[in-house]
């Protein structure tokens, strides 16, 4: 099966620090891939390089058959990769709807006439989007639907996470990157959020997911394959059992948690 995303010898250096070291990583269509590894092992950097925030020092990224190595973040988003951020990057003073619409930028009509003069048509477009956002929010937390017009700063942490997920989902991405969506949540909240995302992805039928997650239990439940990073290198990969059986993994990362 040909890979949806395929990275070859991907290297990212920050000065003397090598955050990604000749990483070879494939994501197949329909995968829910777990990306794990200790702090500072380069997981977020991998997202940042693939989504075009950083240009890799070496190596190539091929997405959907196209070489996207030196594309800008904007172009990569338009090709269908959307993401959430480890540290929340919502605009706190904007409403839930506004924040989600930022994620739908590629589907919005930015024409001057449409935006400034043809207000009737603009409002119709706005209304369609509002319905869509409400549907998405309903899938994640029905209580959020009523709060669609409130500033994000009024929401709890977990609801903000949901809004971020919504913002990544609204543009119907082909590939979804989730960077520790559970950060700051309890076990139960994490499970609920992941279940909600899985329902929306319909087991990879709607979109492919790469998930960075420290909670091994979540990884076990939701992913079909994992990649373990350490010092920017791939330590091992395979399904949950294979990965957790690996002695290097046990020693480098999971040992204490599995005991």
């Amino acid at each position: 099966m040909s890979a949806l995303l395929s990275c070859t010898d991907l290297t990212m250096r920050f000065g003397g620090l090598t955050a990604l070291d000749k990483l070879n990583l494939d994501v197949a269509k329909g995968d829910v891939l777990g990306l794990v590894g200790p702090n500072g092992s380069g997981k977020t950097t991998f997202f940042n390089v693939v989504t075009g925030i950083y240009r890799p020092s070496a190596g190539t990224v091929v997405f959907d058959g196209q070489d996207v190595t030196s594309r800008t973040a904007q172009e990569i988003y338009r090709l269908g990769i959307a993401r959430t951020f480890q540290r929340s990057r919502l605009c706190l003073d904007l409403t839930v709807f506004d924040n989600v619409m930022i994620g739908n930028h590629k589907n919005l009509d930015m024409g001057i006439v449409h935006n400034l003069l043809a207000r009737g048509r603009f409002r119709a477009e706005c209304k369609r989007n509002l319905e869509r956002v409400k549907t998405l929010l309903h899938g994640l937390n029905p209580a959020l639907v009523k709060r669609v017009g409130q500033p994000v700063s009024m929401l709890s942490m977990i609801d903000r996470r949901r809004v971020e997920v919504c913002r990544a989902l609204v543009s119907d991405p082909v590939l979804l990157f989730l960077d520790e969506p559970s950060a700051g949540m309890t076990h139960d909240e994490t499970k609920r959020l992941m279940d909600e995302i899985l329902v929306l992805s319909d087991g990879g039928k709607n979109f492919t997911v790469v998930l960075i997650e420290h909670e091994m239990e979540v990884i076990r439940r939701v992913t079909n394959r994992c990649v373990v990073l350490n010092f920017g290198r791939k330590l091992c990969e395979g399904d949950y059992e294979t990965v957790t059986a690996d002695p290097f993994v046990k020693e480098a990362y999971l040992g204490t948690e599995l005991d």
């Binding site: 904007q74 930015m110 603009f122 409002r123 913002r167």
Partner: protein, 386 residues
């Protein structure tokens, strides 16, 4: 959202707007008519107390709810208040010039609002772009260009000169934009003073507006009585301000305004969702300068004579302080703060000399105690979607 009618004073719809507008009009007339310092002080303090009471009680909620749900009526009422003020003071040069100054400055600060308030592009040279409008009107007008074209060119020139500053404005890290626009403001003034073509330190005359065969510098007849020639300019400035206001408000309530907000809040996130950061910064900077230039050109014609002293760095700081005072991002806040900043030093001669000190103190006070400004920006409202 739901109102507790037993506690809130509900002012009904458009009638409520008209009522508030009438009260505002009455207060404005009393205040502007007053000439002695004591009555001025009394009106000022009573006005401030009234605002304070509204702010501290629930009154301000019902007022803003009434305004929000009757927007068109409120807009009409405000234009009406302005027109009635002009008619009331139709033969009073001084007051009409004051009203004109308010409207010209407010238009320029609306431009600054698009730049800094929406997009987060800092501009310490708004007064310079205002001045470019004035000087363009002077030069082209003297060369015999039609007035309307001079006006448009005033805006276009300001926007074009602004392009010189684009490179630093687009730099994301550091304070390049702030420093370079400051340097530009200082240089612009020096340039005006040494340029013979632009009249040097003495300045130049600006030919009056001529439109539909009407010379704006001639006195005007209204109901058989003679009015100040400023009246025509005030009407023109009111039209410009209303159009600019409508434009900026629609901009805010569109995907364009949303993209600008996104650029201001978080460039990394914006880039990851396909928003072209450079494009929106350029659009905002250019639009803002265009508005400054347009209002400058019209205001220059109204003044009839302009000199470099009006376009100093300090004036740019005044524009910025109006925005900070009014509430960054809020167009009504811009209008309110412009009125305050322009009128107070004019009415209290004692303050005249110390006005920069007053503004500085006021801005500091706001930043510390009310960083969102007098009228904090509301969440975006795309219009009726139901």
């Amino acid at each position: 959202m739901r109102h507790n009618s037993s506690r809130d004073l509900v002012i009904p719809g458009p009638a409520g707007c008209a009522l508030m507008a009438l009260a505002l009009l009455a207060w404005c007339i009393l205040f502007l008519k007053a000439e002695e310092q004591i009555p001025i002080l009394v009106y000022m303090i009573s006005g401030c107390l009234l605002v304070l009471v509204a702010a501290l009680s629930d009154l301000h909620k019902s007022i803003s709810a009434t305004i929000a749900s009757n927007e068109a009526a409120w807009d009409g009422c405000m234009i009406g208040v302005m027109l009635l003020l002009m008619i009331t003071f139709r033969d009073d040069h001084y007051t009409l010039l004051l009203l004109g100054t308010i409207m010209a400055y407010a238009t320029a600060v609306l431009g600054l609002n698009v730049q800094l308030g929406f997009t987060g592009v800092i501009n310490f040279s708004a007064a310079s772009f205002f001045g470019i409008g004035c000087y363009t009107a002077a030069i082209l007008g003297t060369a015999g260009w039609p007035s309307l074209l001079c006006l448009v060119m005033g805006g276009v020139m300001a926007a074009l000169v602004g392009c010189l500053l684009l490179a630093p404005v687009l730099r994301t890290s550091g304070h390049y934009a702030a420093l370079v626009t400051m340097a530009f403001a200082l240089l612009f003034r020096v340039f005006l003073e040494v340029s013979d073509l632009l009249g040097g330190p003495q300045g130049v005359a600006v030919p009056p507006m001529q439109m539909f065969g009407v010379d704006f510098s001639q006195a005007m007849q209204l109901w058989g009585s003679e009015c100040s020639f400023y009246l025509r300019y005030d009407i023109a400035l009111l039209i410009l301000l209303s159009l600019s206001f409508a434009f900026v408000r629609r901009l805010e309530r569109s995907w364009i305004g949303l993209s600008m907000d996104a650029v201001r809040s978080d460039e990394t996130a914006s880039a990851c969702f396909g928003i072209n950061i450079a494009k929106w910064k350029i659009v905002a900077f250019t639009l803002g300068n265009l508005l400054s230039g347009l209002s400058g050109a019209l205001y220059g014609m109204m003044l009839a004579y302009i000199s470099p002293a009006n376009y100093a760095f300090a004036d740019s700081l005044i524009f910025l302080s109006i925005l900070l005072l009014g509430g960054i991002g809020n167009s009504w806040g811009v209008i309110l703060a412009t009125v305050f900043v322009v009128v107070v030093p004019e009415k209290f001669q004692v303050i005249q000399e110390y006005r920069y000190l007053l503004y500085a103190a006021l801005v500091l006070f706001m930043i510390i105690y009310r960083p969102m400004g007098l009228l904090p920006r509301k969440v975006r409202n795309y219009g009726r979607l139901a």
